[in-house]
Symmetry: D2
């Protein structure tokens, strides 16, 4: 399974060159992970942070910016799990343009954390099982 | 007619107190105006900026922040035109919570500008007619 | 006394028209209030939020955007107290360009809050005395 | 030579967990590159974009987020050139905490672009010479 999300490119995302300012891509990317947790894993950031006292911070990130994106375009984000560990998960996220052309390709490593102790903890069986559905074989 | 838009509150919008950081409200508000132009007036920011060389900057803003908004909530934005001049338009934008409770109430004055000349210009008849449909009597 | 701060205009602040995107002005404005608290009132946001469990959210805001600001310019912010109440403080903040020309003029009302109870509380005598030094007669 | 910049951590940078929201690190990182161009290379982004019609977009990025950063801390950014090509330059940027402890380590590849043609171009001799001073042997 691939988790997908639509990303309309807004005025707020664009720089004086009229294209997406790259730090804004990461706000969008975080939004994709947020939607995946809420819709794909049935455990929203709000639920994690407020009710469970856990978080899923990004500890490593690699990104290729392949083609610039202009104001008014709409991108499609695709998220898959590429590795699933005891307390970490590796994701691949691609942003594609209207012609399916790749705009950005990223690898993220997220770690399950206890927010109070600031320590990594095991991903719960429930979440791990939900994540497995998005594993790319 | 009232122009409406849904605003999911994201992790990126929230501050260390767990509520929306107020400058993020204005990014959302600009997004509402952007959607209104594209969907309500049939003239996107991209069309304005790139094809026509015009813009609709905000020159005056008044906002009451009535109740804080938390991570995970979803707001409803409502936009109406409260005054329509030769080159300016006054909008009222409200953000409401899930129980229709008012979170934020804003008055914005936007001015139609020629981007190259950096001068105000008359709103075209076509745009003015489209804006009139959203006038609150 | 007037509290002042320098604001270099960065690429991240500017929109496809090459000028400051107005929600970014409010990020800067919040930074000015933050610096005023830390340097002018000797009580940083960190101290307020983490150690004391209080906050100073903005409940009302009025802004005139007088002249656009371009990438590469440097603004000067000026903050004065225009009204000081039991639990609220009204500020006037101006952003000026290199020729002292006014770019933005804002009135903000901030309220001292207990973050846990989400209720307004009295401004402490210590903070109130510190704020008085910035009162515009 | 190492290019350095101070980065005060603001309320605007922090998330509901009270630590820097990672997309904000990239806004800061872009600011460091911006300052390096203006102060270290004597060619500001404004000069590049407006006067010369060139830009220096990031095409590849790798980041390790080593330790979280809290509201109220101040980081030190260190920038060095790790590779200098005909039209591209590879940078290493580190963010350190008050005890010199590493918070973030990034590798960026930037490419000199003609903004109108949207094509890579050779880095000018003048800029290349200036960049060489920051090369890590």
């Amino acid at each position: 399974m691939i988790f997908t999300a639509e990303l309309p490119i807004r005025f707020a995302h664009c720089d004086p060159a009229g294209i997406v300012f790259y730090p804004r891509y990461f706000e969008m990317m975080n939004g994709v992970v947020e939607d995946w947790c809420a819709q794909g894993l049935a455990c929203s950031f709000h639920e994690m942070h407020i009710a469970r006292g856990i978080g899923l911070p990004t500890v490593h990130l690699e990104t290729d910016f392949i083609k610039p994106t202009e104001l008014g375009e709409s991108l499609l984000a695709e998220l898959v799990v590429t590795k699933l560990g005891k307390s970490s998960v590796e994701l691949q996220i691609c942003f594609r343009g209207p012609q399916q052309d790749m705009r950005l390709k990223a690898k993220l490593v997220l770690v399950m954390m206890d927010l109070k102790l600031r320590k990594s903890i095991a991903i719960s069986d429930e979440l791990s099982t939900a994540m497995q559905k998005y594993c790319k074989i």
